[in-house]
Amino acid sequence: MYKAFLIKYGEIGLKGNNRHLFEDALVSEIARVLKKTDGDFLVTKENGRIYATARSEFDYDEVVEILGKVFGIVWICPVVQIEDNGVEDLGENLIRYIDSAYKDKNFTFKVEARRARKNFPLNSMEINQEMGHILLEKFPEMKVDVHDPDVLISIEVRKQINIYSKEIPGQGGMPAGISGSAMLLLSGGIDSPVAGYMIAKRGVKVFATYFHAPPYTSERAKQKVVDLAKIVSEYAGPITLNIIDFTAIQLEIYKSCPHDELTIIMRRIMMRIAQDLAEKNNCMGLVTGESIGQVASQTMHGLYCTNEVCTMPVYRPLIAFDKQDIIDVAKRIGTYETSIQPFEDCCTIFVAKHPVTKPKLDIIKRDETKLPENIEDMIKTAEETAEIIICEK
């Protein structure tokens, strides 16, 4: 029944002189994702709205799901397109549409016509009245409410005539990549993929770094991170994932530093590595899934100590989230089931049974000096030998 989608966007319409940049980014993102579907679509921008018009058969559910993941879209309206064969024909088509789109006709409605092509015999007001009348006659259960209708039926008379009344909520946010780039510290856990999703929603292009520690973390743990990056990429667009072989550094920390400070010192080095890779990729910030107090290393004291090595801004979208709230988002965006696959816990030897919860920066810095001098070389080597995987679905 549907032949096109009207795409409504909110926030990006407000961006003054930059507006066309935002719109163009959204148009090209929509065109990009629709290529992944069975359908052939023409994506166009007209008067502050975007249309994706099908030029072939397509799977409705697939298209709605894919558009539902595009940042910047506020509403997705499936549109019925008919040829202009006069007022009577429009009425018949409208009845057919309402009949199949709404099983239960017990609702209030309003017809809102826009006559862009002026040679149509009725003007907008007349279309509203005529079509409202036809509907009321055909479906007596329906009631008119011009102030607060349950269903707003839009009729646009253009070259063809568009009819739509359903609005499917989109992701909101801003089109992928228009804000700049950031480096996400991605683990196999629940939080970091959510953090990546959230930052991407603000138009940030996401790069990612994962710290792999074979044989303490398995090949499957790595695969899991790739899978997670792929899921996030369905929203964020392709993600360049850097995989750092971290084992040698971890063992060195283990040997040299007090065990209860291991995680903090490790995280400081991870931040440094991520920051180096971020600079290499022209990123303007780091992103983590940290949330205050969630684990020992994420107390305010812990964050204070890890943050100290960073010179670029560190974005922590989940900082004030409770765990359950994070889990809710993870479930909604589809990362949760992958995140809870149990491949991670083999590296627990690097987590102290009783880690410090209130580390002091000066003590951490003092203990860091116990690391051998070649730790800097090891860090450099780890960065240079990073395995790079482009994650895209």
Binding site: P214, Y216, T348
Partner: protein, 385 residues
């Protein structure tokens, strides 16, 4: 270099088996139920495999039902036979060390109102026969015991169990999960008084996705899969002809050759391995001795090293082994045998399994021992504090 010592998980198919599957797939692609020649040609392969099995199992043609493998065979045996005896009693017995494809159907039946007894084992992992005798009741209808334990390789006293059951009440149905036994020893259902016996092809160099259930003539089992009535209605669905042909090929190769020589090769390997690791400190071998122990499995607890870490470290050197228990906290207690034998949580988490095949060599064992001797001291330096 690749040393594959995870043959209890699955085996590499014999080249002859792979060839058979390939050729049958291409030449005799007919549906064995079809009336024309293509159907007859396909059916011949099923018949041929059956003939091989009859010879090895000393059974009758109508006693073999081909399935998709061990999980299906076990499910069918347990649920199918228990349901068929619903009105005779609701007490069923198994052991606490069974494979999940036995344990889960029992747990499901328990939910449905059956009374399930899980028999304990001794510290070697062997089922306690006294407990079995004590647990038998008037309404006991079904007993399932595995032939060889997949984690430790201990051989269960199945013929004694068969004897005890049939003496107590010959109507009790005895199911034996022979997945780790078949292909490693002579398995003859009637000798152990088994009414039902499950086998999977990929454990003995056959193809994956195929196996069979032996059902003694006269034992009623309800089918689990309804449909076109293939295999006398016991297991509907077009038969996996290439798979069945491959299964037959593997059985033929193993049992028609010198089986004793094959078995003694495995025993030699196991001995060789045990001697090799005896020099390592903090190592315990789990399982039985002599006739109580299957020759292809060695379960080793390496104190102080998590099994997955050792597994991946060995993998780095091209040696593939298995963790004796699951590392994950999400699936606790996957190691039922080790836990039932009284190993602590730390011990089960530090247990790995080496499992050999007929194609394994002493050289490969030497290289594995060498790898262990290198890795164990290094890995032991890094433990959680």
């Amino acid at each position: 270099m690749e040393i594959y010592f995870d043959n209890a998980a699955t085996t590499k198919p014999f080249p002859e088996v792979a060839k058979e599957v390939f050729e049958v797939s291409l030449s005799d692609y007919g549906n064995p139920s079809s009336k024309h020649m293509k159907g007859v040609d396909a059916e011949k392969h099923i018949k041929n495999t059956k003939e091989i099995l009859l010879r090895i199992l000393k059974c009758k043609e109508n006693e073999i039902i081909f399935t998709s493998g061990a999980t299906e065979s076990n499910n069918m045996a347990i649920k199918g036979a228990v349901k068929a005896r619903e009105r005779y009693g609701k007490h069923i017995i198994t052991t606490s060390v069974e494979h999940a494809s036995v344990r889960e159907p029992f747990l499901e039946l328990e939910k449905q109102g059956y009374d399930v007894t899980f028999l304990p084992t001794d510290s070697f992992g062997k089922v306690d026969l006294e407990s079995l005798k004590e647990s038998l009741r008037e309404d006991t209808v079904f007993v399932s015991v595995m032939y060889v334990n997949n984690e430790t390789g201990i051989i269960q006293p199945v013929s004694e169990i068969g004897e005890i059951l049939k003496t107590y009440n010959s109507d009790i149905i005895f199911h034996v999960d022979a997945v780790q036994a078949f292909g490693k020893m002579r398995v003859i259902p009637k000798n152990i008084k088994a009414d039902l016996l499950s086998v999977s092809a990929h454990k003995f160099h056959g193809p994956k996705g195929v196996g069979f259930l032996y059902v003694r003539d006269g034992v009623r089992v309800l089918p689990m899969i309804e449909g076109g009535g293939q295999q006398k209605g016991m297991r509907s669905g077009t038969e996996n002809v290439p798979g069945i042909a491959g299964l037959g090929k593997a059985v033929d190769i193993i049992y028609s050759g010198d089986l004793d020589l094959r078995i003694s090769h495995l025993k030699d390997l196991r001995e060789w391995f045990l001697t090799g690791i005896s020099g390592l400190e903090g190592i315990t071998v789990n399982g039985g001795d002599g006739d109580d122990q299957a020759p292809h499995i060695v379960s080793v607890t390496v104190s102080g090293i998590r099994s997955e870490v050792l597994l991946h470290a060995m993998e780095d050197k091209g040696i593939y082994i298995s963790s004796g228990s699951a590392c994950s906290s999400n699936k606790p207690g996957l190691s039922f045998a080790l836990t039932a034998m009284g190993l602590s949580k730390e011990e089960t988490e530090s247990t790995v399994r080496f499992s050999f095949s007929y194609e394994s060599t002493k050289d490969e064992i030497d290289m594995s021992i060498k790898a262990l001797k290198e890795l164990v001291p290094v890995l032991r330096q890094f433990v959680r504090k």
